[in-house]
């Protein structure tokens, strides 16, 4: 245990990158997820078709493949670059891969939320003269979001843990599990306490997330 604690700086640094990956990807996937949901609810068949194919396609692809596609495919093979330094370049590619993947789950949750809104409210909004986008923005999405706060919390927890895939799937991005593996490789950390230590580290991130979202979902619930 002392050997683990003596490397606590590296552990904390690893987790700080996990948090950064998670937060940036969460934000991006949230925005993308709302966009996909809006497209899927739209009266334009082309937009609906595009969004549905995207969600069904990416949601059913293993995250490892999505991240390999970003790292080996777009970044290495096609030479697309997101930043000057290698570390930041892989960071942003990992964010893109994680967001592209997680957005599908955000969209699916939101769609479930939309289905709970009585059609009558949408008709009432239409009757007032609200346009389609106003209806989505003012009536549908706000209520859908409130109903799916709990499920979105689960998506966020999954995303937090999924960041660990980014370092093994071709993108040598810095995050907690990569730090752990490096510590093993360098032979400076005893295996069992280190595993337990990192597992607790993830619990420290995800448990409060779960509780917070549980509390929030009760707080913002729409009473019908």
């Amino acid at each position: 245990m002392e050997a683990f604690l003596s490397n606590i700086d590296r552990v904390v640094d690893g987790f700080s990158w996990t948090v950064r990956l998670t937060l940036v990807s969460a934000l991006l996937s949230f925005v993308l997820g709302i966009l996909l949901t809006a497209m899927r609810a739209s009266p334009v068949p082309l937009l609906r078709g595009l969004a549905t194919s995207y969600v069904e396609g990416v949601r059913n692809t293993p995250l490892t493949l999505v991240l390999l596609f970003c790292g080996l495919g777009l970044n290495s093979a096609l030479g697309l670059s997101m930043a000057d330094s290698v570390a930041m370049d892989v960071f942003w590619w990992a964010v893109i891969g994680l967001s592209a993947y997680t957005a599908c789950f955000v969209s699916e949750s939101l769609r479930a939320g939309i289905n709970t809104i009585p059609l009558g409210q949408v008709e009432a909004a239409r009757s007032l003269g609200l346009t389609f986008t106003q209806n989505l923005r003012l009536i549908v999405i706000p209520q859908a979001l409130r109903t799916v706060v709990g499920p979105l919390g689960s998506v966020l927890i999954a995303l937090t843990k999924n960041t660990t895939v980014a370092s093994v799937a071709g993108l040598g991005v810095q995050e907690a599990s990569r730090e752990m593996k490096l510590m093993f490789d360098q032979g400076i950390a005893p295996v069992l306490p280190t595993f337990v230590g990192f597992a607790i580290g993830f619990l420290i991130l995800t448990l409060p997330t779960g509780y917070f979202f549980g509390w929030l979902s009760k707080r913002v619930a729409v009473v019908r």
Binding site: Q121, E123, A124, S127, G129, R146
Partner: protein, 247 residues
């Protein structure tokens, strides 16, 4: 009272699959007029009401509002709908917004009124339907009758040319029906143009200028309330009235 035609339906037909729900409907609602539509369930009266702001599309025929044909979709349709108030059977208040926000949403977002102006007018309307003291509650905290009165205030806030009522009291507990009908009767007296689908014969007698009797997707009879209730001409209407007026 003026008698300029405000809502005009000509040869309107609509099908739900094989069911011919509206058959050659011709109807003119004049400005300031209160038209009550009655008839048995499934006669197409709600559908008729909903075609007027295009919540239901029609298969053939024309509908005009103030001389303008209904736009098929887009901003033109949204603009037209802002001139046509609608009050639903199930109230359909926005559950995540307070009573006052329900009333000010249309004016601020569609008519682009300032918030203060919309709230001032909103409070006036809520006071008028005697619910001003509940302005900051959420719909779920109100009784059905109160919710329906808010829905009426929400429609009035848009200064509509006509208000459509689609069975506004059918989902209410009996003791709450009167408070909603009272508000509607006042509106009728003040000269609001109204199309009311209802089973409330008392309201029809009291407030209507004209009663439309529908059966099987057709307008079977059209008359003043006095004439219709005391002397229905068609057999279908006689049969309908004998069933509802005896209990």
């Amino acid at each position: 009272m003026t008698s300029t035609p405000l809502v005009v339906l000509e040869n309107v037909n609509k099908h739900f699959g094989d069911l011919h729900v509206l058959r050659d409907i011709n109807l003119t609602v004049n400005s300031g007029e209160v038209v009550v539509v009655i008839g048995p369930s499934g006669s197409g009266k709600s559908t008729l009401c909903r075609t007027i702001n295009r919540l239901e599309t029609i298969d053939s025929g024309t509908i005009t509002l103030d001389g303008q044909p209904l736009p098929a979709e887009g901003r033109g349709l949204a603009k037209l709908r802002s001139d046509v108030g609608m009050v639903f059977q199930s109230f359909n208040l926005f559950a995540h917004k307070t009573v006052l926000q329900n009333v000010t949403l249309g004016p601020t977002k569609v008519l682009r009124q300032g918030k203060a102006e919309a709230e001032k007018r909103g409070m006036e309307l809520l006071d008028r339907v005697q619910i001003g003291d509940q302005a900051h509650k959420y719909p779920a905290q109100l009784s059905g009758g109160q919710q329906q009165r808010v829905a009426i205030a929400r429609a009035l806030a848009m200064n509509p040319k006509v208000i459509l009522f689609d069975e506004p009291t059918s989902a209410l507990d009996p003791e709450m029906v009167q408070e909603v009908l009272d508000v509607m009767t006042d509106l009728a007296r003040e000269g609001m143009t109204m199309v009311v689908v209802t089973h409330e014969m008392g309201f029809a007698r009291r407030a209507a200028n004209r009663v439309i009797f529908m059966a099987d997707g057709q307008i079977v009879e059209e008359n003043t309330p006095d004439e219709f209730f005391t002397n229905p001409r068609s057999e279908r209407a006689q049969d309908f009235l004998s069933k509802i007026l005896t209990h």
